[in-house]
Amino acid sequence: MASAKPSIAGAAPAGRRPNPQLAQFKRTFYFLSRNTLAMIGLAIVFLFVFVAVWGVFYSAPNAALVSYCGTTSSNGQQNFSSVAATCPGVTLCTYPITSAPIANCYPVYQQAPSQIAPTWDLAHFSAGPLPFGSLTVTPGLPYFYNPFEGLIKGAQWSLGIAAGIVLAGSFIGIVFGCVSGYFGGVVDEVMMRLTDIFLSIPGFLLVLVIIATIGYTIQSLDGKILVMMGAFILTWWPGYTRIVRGQVLVTREQKYIEASKASGARPGRIIWRHILPNSLYPVFVQVSLDVGSIPLALGGIAFLGFHIWPTQYFPEWGTIAALATNDLSEQLLVCTGGTCVFPWWQILFPGLTLFLFAISVSFLSDGLRDALDPRLRR
């Protein structure tokens, strides 16, 4: 590693061997680039990463967290003005839900859900049209939420948390898996029993329980997020450990490891220079798959009503989708008679974001598996 690597920048100088790792990377990318679905996945993932980075510098015109013509103070507390007020740029109005909708008007349901007879008939709902980025209406509550801005602001949270959890989990898994697989014997036995134990506890439930017991005693946002990430890492490291160990068991029987041992290399060097680089590929595949499932899991947690965020309307993809889903069934119950607006955009855009991200990483993961495993190439 410490030796000079002149070949990284461009063509190798005459007489030098090309960097083998760079060549390997190029070869992998070549195989990956021939897989259309994987390239589409990669493009979408890059788009989302770009949005996340852009979102850090992007200040929404009416902030991701807006209230009905109210203000959001720095601690997330929402203060509301009177219902009849209007927000700049958006026409808001109150009208009885039995009357015909007024153009560019977003209905505000003033009745509490219990006062209106519920219905399940979708025929009562018109499908819009409403402009992209329309405000979300929560029945009975004067909250407004712009899903478009929320999704932009949420990218950094969703991707950041997902990347943090997956990187930490895979780091622990790589270390434990290498040690366990390389040394074998008692160490291996103890490690594997430990992963058995963690794998028998349903991960999602363990996360819920940890948030409920430890997370609820912590007040600060950073502390809550750290506890939640810790809970996820606790449930995910055993999977990575298993994967790495399995690969190490294969790798350590190779001739070049034997050669390295014969020439007197210490275990640390053998693991670092030979076993580790040759055992990492399955981890890449798994990591790219897992990154997509974390926003889904966060959505599940929010859907069940867990307060891991400072406000209910915190911009995080899973949370936005979960709240919209909750509100949707609630609104269908509330609205009856006349023409009600079926709030499809509330659920479509957050849901589509989650779906696109998860499916593009699974395309990418599938492509990576094919590109990295010589048996599946072609």
């Binding site: 430990l194 058995d196 409920a212 017991t213 959505g299 867990f306 989708a321 979960a322 989650l354 599938d366």
Partner: protein
């Protein structure tokens, strides 16, 4: 190796896992305050949750004396003992099913258990059959979906069937469970909105697909207890059949179909790829070529020679992903308001915490996963002789 030796060896490996799992729940429990620990173990009904009580009962604001009952509970739980002894106590209580009491004032108790403090193990025994029925139906659906679709996508590799299976596999992973469940519920309710809803004049939304039983206005039978505990077996469908109420049994069964489809769709997605790939490998093996060479029809080759293999793969992957599969029940049971352990856990956590129930349900779910893994291993050894012979 004989089958029973294999089973015994597999059961012995269980002991460290069970000890370890209980140790993890013990570690999480030990972050609680002594008052919470006493409450989750004994309940607060007898007034043992306050360290001090007024010395003179007629003067509540007067001087405070130590609470005898609190001290008794404190000693009985061994909270003044070293942590190792506490761990031993915890293990003993967990193994003898003394999983504590529900909190009479918690949300779960108010909503589901009528404000009473009941032993957690008893409550779980009422709720478990509902979850098991849902799990059984979902598993059946998974087997019915994964095996044939996986086989056919391998046989018709890269043809429309295969592409469709791939799409199903990817979308099943990427669709959030709560979203799919809600949309299916709304869709079904909208599609079947012509069905009559007359239950004592009360209008109940999503009536046919929501909840474990028909709403109370529709007349819940007498053999279903106050807290929905069904008798004699506890399994609602079986009980309804035993009592000869076939239409009720059908109703209860229909309520499980959409939740089971939601669960099976997500789980099948993760299995399909493995079934397909292993089937592709098997189709290239010698014995398949031999079967073809001796003139066995292609459908027979796929079904009997190569296809048996995909059942093994399905069961193995199911065993590996069972923990994730059962973890999803919390969300599905909440969406459909099913009377299962997952709903119990969510209600025990949400507006107010009921630690006895939380740790009881976690322990129960873990035991389900461990037992399921054992069953999978034994089934696997039964289906594939190489495992027990090798």
């Amino acid at each position: 190796m004989k089958m029973w030796i294999y089973i015994i060896r597999r059961l012995l490996l269980l002991i460290p896992v069970i000890i370890g799992v209980m140790t993890i729940t013990f570690v999480i429990t030990s972050t609680l305050t002594p008052i919470d620990k006493i409450e989750s173990a004994y309940g607060c009904g007898k007034g043992g949750c306050t360290p001090t009580v007024p010395c003179n009962e007629s003067n509540p604001t007067g001087p405070q004396c130590p609470n005898e009952l609190y001290i008794h509970y404190y000693d009985a739980l061994g909270l003044n003992q070293p942590i190792v002894v506490q761990w031993g106590n915890y293990m003993e209580r967990a193994l003898t099913l003394q999983w504590g009491m529900t909190d009479a004032n918690s949300y779960a108790s108010t909503e589901l258990l009528g404000h009473s403090s009941i032993p957690v193990a008893t409550v779980l025994s009422w709720y478990l059959p509902y979850t098991l029925e849902l799990a059984a139906l979902s598993l059946l659906l998974i087997l019915l979906l994964a095996v044939p679709i996986g086989n056919y996508s391998a046989v018709y590799r890269n043809r429309p069937v295969d592409q469709g299976a791939r799409l199903m596999s990817f979308s099943g992973f990427a669709l959030p469970g709560f979203l799919l469940a809600t949309l299916l519920l709304l869709g079904a309710a909208s599609l079947f909105s012509f069905l009559p809803v007359t239950c004592g004049g009360a209008y109940i939304p999503f009536d046919h697909f929501y909840g474990s039983w028909p709403p109370s206005g529709c007349g819940v039978p007498s053999w279903v207890g106050t807290y929905d505990q069904s008798s004699p077996t506890g399994f609602p469908i079986i009980d309804a059949l035993l009592h000869g109420q076939y239409s009720l049994a059908l109703d209860v069964f229909v309520r499980l179909i959409i939740p089971a489809i939601t669960i099976a769709y997500g789980a099948t997605a993760s299995i399909l790829r493995f079934v397909r790939n292993s089937m592709l490998e098997v189709m290239n093996l010698d014995f398949v070529r031999t079967a073809r060479a001796k003139g066995v029809p292609e459908s027979q080759v796929v079904r009997r020679h190569a296809g048996r293999n995909s059942l093994n793969v399905t069961i193995t992957i199911l065993g590996l992903t069972f923990a994730g599969f059962i973890g999803g029940f919390a969300i599905i049971e909440t969406v459909f308001d099913l009377h299962g352990v997952g709903l119990l856990l969510v209600d025990a956590i949400l507006p107010s915490l009921d630690y006895g129930l939380i740790f009881g349900t976690t322990l129960l779910f873990t035991i389900i996963v461990v037992v399921a893994n054992i069953i999978v291993d034994i089934l696997y050894a039964f289906l594939d002789p190489r495992v027990r012979l090798g």
